[in-house]
């Protein structure tokens, strides 16, 4: 375990920035997002949740993969490679770290999504323990360890007040650590004790959160039975504005659309984020199988809570980051759905 004083961070950022693209939670115009670091940017490592998740780094919102041209009746195609350099992502919360694993299950299974893989391979992820979880956090219900070092992080870090503790967890992490070793000292026995204390603190805070009583195992019924509870789906969908805020902010939502920019004799093929909230979601040549907002909203939550776990050994496609609970303009969120479906711990 290594230790770095917070006063050394600017130098550390500079050093990392020289070799990599460095992405940090940066505050700009009232928003906090993972953005490319430049000297003088306002880095905020205190607030636990960035507005948007960092998924755009591995799954860009829009990505062109093919350019085509028609000249003198001859069609030519040009494959566009994935853009971007090697990067370091610092300050990723354990929920967002887990979301990468959930996206891997989709994009890295056969056939592997080559663009996603390139983005994923280029990144070094440094997690940060959640010293101050927010009211709308409910990661514990999804098995996320907000206090411990999350699996999937190349380096795990914890905020210790005037310093950070770093634990290297992968080869990539080790390589980065070696290149910045000069800013670090070895952690002492005392630091490790303090860390254990801090982890306990975090666990205590998590227990006290307003949504700590959700328990997915209490959701009963077969896929068909949950699907058929139209009264519940109607109740939520009649208030739903059908905007895509929830799906675009969600770290695990991964639906995309394939579109063309069409010119008179040339164009581009690209993919972009889609949302089950959009009226043209699942629109096919024959028409749309989901014609109402009820069906689309139901799709969103069935996907998170039923379909994904069915295909991935019971793992839910939610990490409890709380962005949907925080940002839905009309307060529809997955916690309310889970509770409505019966997923609440029984009060003693």
């Amino acid at each position: 375990m290594k230790k770095i004083l917070k006063t050394k961070l600017p130098e550390l950022w500079q050093k990392i920035d020289a070799d990599f693209d460095l992405f940090l939670p940066i505050e700009k115009n009232k928003t906090l997002n993972f953005s490319l670091w430049k000297e003088g940017e306002k880095v905020n490592l205190d607030r636990v949740r960035t507005n948007a998740s960092p998924k755009h780094l591995v799954f860009p919102q829009t990505e062109t993969y093919l350019k085509f041209k028609n000249e003198n009746k001859k069609l030519s195609l040009e494959v566009v490679e994935a853009e971007g350099d090697e990067y370091v992502l610092f300050g990723v919360r354990p929920c967002d770290v887990k979301s990468f694993k959930l996206l891997d299950n989709i994009f890295l299974r056969d056939p592997v999504d080559t663009y996603y893989k390139v983005h994923r391979d280029r990144g070094i992820i440094i997690s940060l323990g959640c010293s101050n979880p927010e009211d709308t956090c409910f990661c514990t219900s999804f098995g996320v360890e907000a206090a411990s070092a999350p699996e999937g992080a190349d380096i795990a870090a914890w905020d210790m007040g005037d310093s950070f503790l770093w634990k290297t967890q992968s080869e990539k992490g080790q390589k980065l650590m070696e290149s910045v070793e000069e800013f670090f000292t070895d952690a002492h026995e005392k630091d490790l004790k303090t860390l254990e204390h801090e982890k306990d603190n975090i666990r205590e805070k998590l227990k006290e959160l307003p949504f700590s009583n959700i328990d997915l195992s209490k959701i009963k019924g077969t896929q068909q039975e949950i699907f058929d509870q139209e009264e519940i789906w109607n109740e939520f969908s009649e208030k739903c504005l059908a905007c895509g805020t929830c799906s675009y902010l969600c770290p695990t939502c991964h639906c995309y659309d394939l579109c063309d920019y069409k010119g008179s004799n040339k164009g581009e093929k690209f993919r972009c984020w889609d949302s089950c909230m959009s009226s043209d979601f699942t629109l096919m040549a024959h028409g749309n199988p989901r014609t109402s907002q009820m069906q689309r909203l139901r799709q969103r939550f069935m996907h998170k809570l039923v379909y994904y776990p069915k295909n991935h050994e019971g793992v839910y496609s939610c990490v409890g980051c709380g962005r949907c609970a925080d940002r839905c303009p009309v307060h529809i969120d997955i916690v309310k759905i889970i509770k409505k479906l019966g997923g609440e711990k029984n009060e003693l």
Binding site: T31, T62, E238, L241, Y248, F270, S275, R327, P329
Partner: protein, 325 residues
């Protein structure tokens, strides 16, 4: 506020029992201190879950477009800004006045949870309560008094219509409107004072964060088209790509489309997950309309024609001049 909650419940229950209305749109408290959300009620016994507090920010008027075709008569609670958007929906022929019973609520401004979190972010606020001069923020161990100005939404601090401008029954006392009307355009003036390049870069920077989630459109009471052009895949401008051109196109088209119909409720800016100050774009157009055609506030009534869809010989621009500036 507790008194108004009592009135809301009583009024809703009675109206449902008497079958004066088939459904009522109001607000309900969620699990969190900051969470008051829209609720639709058809059974009289459910009326007891209705509430009124400093977080009933959601404008319920727009729901009428979808709800009215399903029922003969709907009751709805409306604040000042909700009432102007109600009038706008009437003017746009999207709803019928005779199918709605309006319960007006004078509003003293709503609390912005983000501002509360800035003051007590990690102290686990459990309650925000109106006090004599402002609000009291409470958590497990302590409480703190703050002034209303510190935690109210920006849009509420410059609100010019705190009292409903249309209603069938008013619940609560009329609120004094002591807002300095000039303050409303301060944000616009800041942008106007920039050079064209600075202005371009300002909006470029803002739109860069746009997620294209359409929430600004979907919450807007002036965005009431049956099928939005951005949802019309046949129009080939659905523009799902996240590029500078598409983002800018979307926002400029939207702002022009609601020009003269925007009631300045500020909901677009409030709910934008990327924090884009979209209200400033609309307010710039409102300011221009005021300067060119004389002061006009959309939604103050449901009959006065909007300046941009009417022509008078005394209009500042008579269309007789050749070319632009």
């Amino acid at each position: 506020m507790e008194n108004i909650t009592k009135k809301i419940r009583a009024v809703a229950k009675q109206a449902l029992i008497n079958k004066e209305i088939d459904k009522i749109l109001g607000w309900k408290k969620g699990d969190l201190w900051s969470e008051s959300y829209p609720v639709f009620i058809t059974k009289p016994e459910d009326a007891d879950s209705l509430i009124w507090d400093s977080f009933c920010i959601n404008n319920l008027s727009k729901y009428l477009i979808k709800e009215l075709p399903k029922y003969d008569k709907i009751g709805i609670f409306i604040k000042g800004c909700d009432s102007t958007s109600f009038n706008q929906l009437l003017k746009d022929n999207r709803i019928n006045r005779e199918n709605v019973v309006l319960y007006g609520i004078p509003c003293e401004g709503m609390v912005d949870p983000e501002k509360v979190k800035k003051i007590m972010l990690n102290d686990r606020v459990t309650r925000v309560k109106k006090s004599e001069n402002g609000f009291t923020l409470t958590n497990k161990n302590t409480s703190k008094d703050v002034l209303g100005e510190e935690i109210k939404y920006d849009k509420c601090l410059t609100c010019t219509s705190p009292n409903p401008v249309v209603y069938d029954q008013l619940l609560g006392d009329v609120v004094n409107n002591n807002v300095n009307r000039e303050d409303r355009f301060k944000g616009v003036e800041e942008i106007e004072s920039m050079t064209p390049d600075e202005r371009y870069n300002f909006w470029k920077g803002e739109f860069q964060r746009c997620l294209r989630c359409n929430a600004c459109r979907d919450i807007c009471p002036a965005c009431s088209c049956v099928k939005c052009v951005f949802d019309n895949s046949d129009a080939e401008i659905s523009g799902k790509a996240k590029t500078e051109g598409e983002d800018t196109f979307f926002h400029i088209v939207r702002a022009y489309h609601v020009a003269g119909r925007c009631v300045d409720c500020g909901e677009c800016a409030r709910i934008c997950p990327a924090g884009i100050p979209l209200d400033k774009l609309n307010r710039k157009i409102i300011k221009d309309i005021n300067e060119v055609y004389g002061e006009f506030n959309a939604g103050l009534d449901s009959t006065t024609p909007a300046p941009l869809v009417t022509f008078k010989l005394e209009d500042a621009d008579t269309f007789s001049k050749q070319g632009g500036k």
